[in-house]
Amino acid sequence: MITVENAHKYYRINRLKKVVLRNVSFKFQAGRSYGILGINGAGKSTFMRLLSGTELPNGGRIRRTVRVSWPLGFAGGLHPNMTGRDNVSFVARAYGENVRETVEFVEDFAEVGPYMDAPVKTYSSGMVQRVAFGLSMAINFDCYLIDEVMAVGDARFQARCKTEFEKRKKFSDIIMVSHGMDAIQTYCQEGIVLAGGELHHFPKVADAIEAYRLLNM
């Protein structure tokens, strides 16, 4: 599904070199869902961007053989001066989806009502997140990358997300970053702990959570 080949990634902050991945190789198998764990600043979000292709490794390659989503989480990508409708139409067109159906789905899912025709900059942060999340749900990806998104919206919206995800689980895989162990345990079969620039793979997610707890001690 996604193959990481000898990938190397670092950041330079004030001449301080911070290595996120140190020549890492890993193969994400289709049909499996993965939870990625790590302490704050370990580079989980960077790793997600690398997997999606919105950022490139400094060395090595990352190959995707299926349609992978952008990292769902915050509102990135929505244009503040465009209406919600225009934003959704653009993404639907770019991904070759039916524009009208996609807009209808997002309208129904995000429940922003008349705000769909208002510029995104007038939205509350919860509305932005709901539209962004609905948009990613409207497009059929083979693999969803989820970065701490389960905390979006109120309880009602969270319940809707959950049912939507339950539907997706049959056709799509999930790679998830979360500090909520419940969500990881619910959605993922396998676990990966990211620490010190290395990926530690655990075929059972419970073992990964155990290792993560040890890291936090």
Binding site: S52, G53, T54, E55, L56, P57, N58, V68, W70, G76, G77, H79, N81, M82, T83, D86, F90, V91, R93, A94, Y95, G96, P119
Partner: protein, 268 residues
């Protein structure tokens, strides 16, 4: 074609279709967002360079009655100012594309190349509209702008737009990582304009000056366009291969820059 060859072509065709879709979506989005949220914003995109062009025309024809060649001042200035406008606006708009639309790279299907190409294509279409409407308006005012060699005039316009696209393409990638580039670009454009022969006849200048201004690609645009209007106009200054060569060199440099800075562009 046998089935295995067709199968092998499949991924390429799919990739091209997907890229065409993305570029189409970007162009539509660009037309709707650059000036206001309605489709009429596109009228502003066309109207802006057009009014600049007409303003320069009015100023020059009113203030300068003596022209170095031909009998019609409007034709002389039109053939000088049109290449400048066709070069300035498309190149500057394309230059800004990547910085303006950077947030869209958040969607992995949108590549920086698509963003620049979409803006470039839209600017090419706009440039043709500007040219067509400009000629139409001149005819309305009773100015005979029909060139002696129509095909040469058209080729000169194509070549100028190609130059603008290439400069903009290269600039878009440099501007993303080096912000002062926009200033460099604008100053270069102004210098190119004043050295292009839009307002004078290059062949009337001293040889040393001619030698230096020969390197200005915009000069060749103007010379090319004028050669379509005035018989025996070109006195050996015009080099079509030079104009096309400079444009192609910038385009190639832009493509190389895109490939080598892909990671930096995404991160910056």
């Amino acid at each position: 074609m046998n089935s295995s060859a067709q199968h092998a072509l499949g991924p390429y065709r799919q990739a091209i279709q997907s890229q065409a879709r993305v570029i189409g979506a970007l162009m539509l989005r660009d037309m709707r967002t650059r000036f206001g949220r309605t489709f009429f914003g596109y009228l502003v995109i066309v109207g802006w360079p057009l009014s600049h062009l007409l303003m320069l025309m009015v100023i020059y024809t009113l203030t300068r009655s003596v022209i170095p060649i031909g009998t019609n001042a409007s034709v002389f200035f039109a053939t000088g100012v049109l290449p400048y406008i066709l070069c300035l606006y498309p190149s500057r708009m394309t230059l800004m594309s990547l910085v303006q639309n950077y947030p869209l790279l958040y969607f992995p299907i949108v590549k920086s190349l698509d963003v620049v190409l979409a803006r470039g294509l839209l600017e090419i279409i706009t440039a043709f509209w500007v040219t067509a409407i400009f000629c139409f308006l001149l005819v309305l005012f009773g100015i005979d702008i029909m060139p002696i060699h129509l095909e040469e005039a058209l080729l000169a316009v194509f070549a100028t737009i190609y130059l603008a696209f290439s400069l903009g393409f290269f600039g878009a990638l440099i501007y993303k990582v080096f912000r002062p580039w926009q200033i460099v670009h604008i100053i270069a454009m102004i210098v190119m304009y004043f050295c292009s022969g839009a307002l004078f006849l290059p062949s009337a200048l001293p040889d040393t000056v001619q030698y230096y201004i020969w390197f200005n690609p915009l000069l060749h645009s103007v010379e090319w366009l004028r050669s379509a209007y005035y018989d025996g106009y070109s006195y050996g200054l015009l080099s079509k291969p030079y104009l096309l060569g400079v444009s192609t060199a910038f385009l190639m440099a832009g493509l190389i820059a895109e490939r080598s800075m892909r990671g930096i562009i995404l991160q910056a």
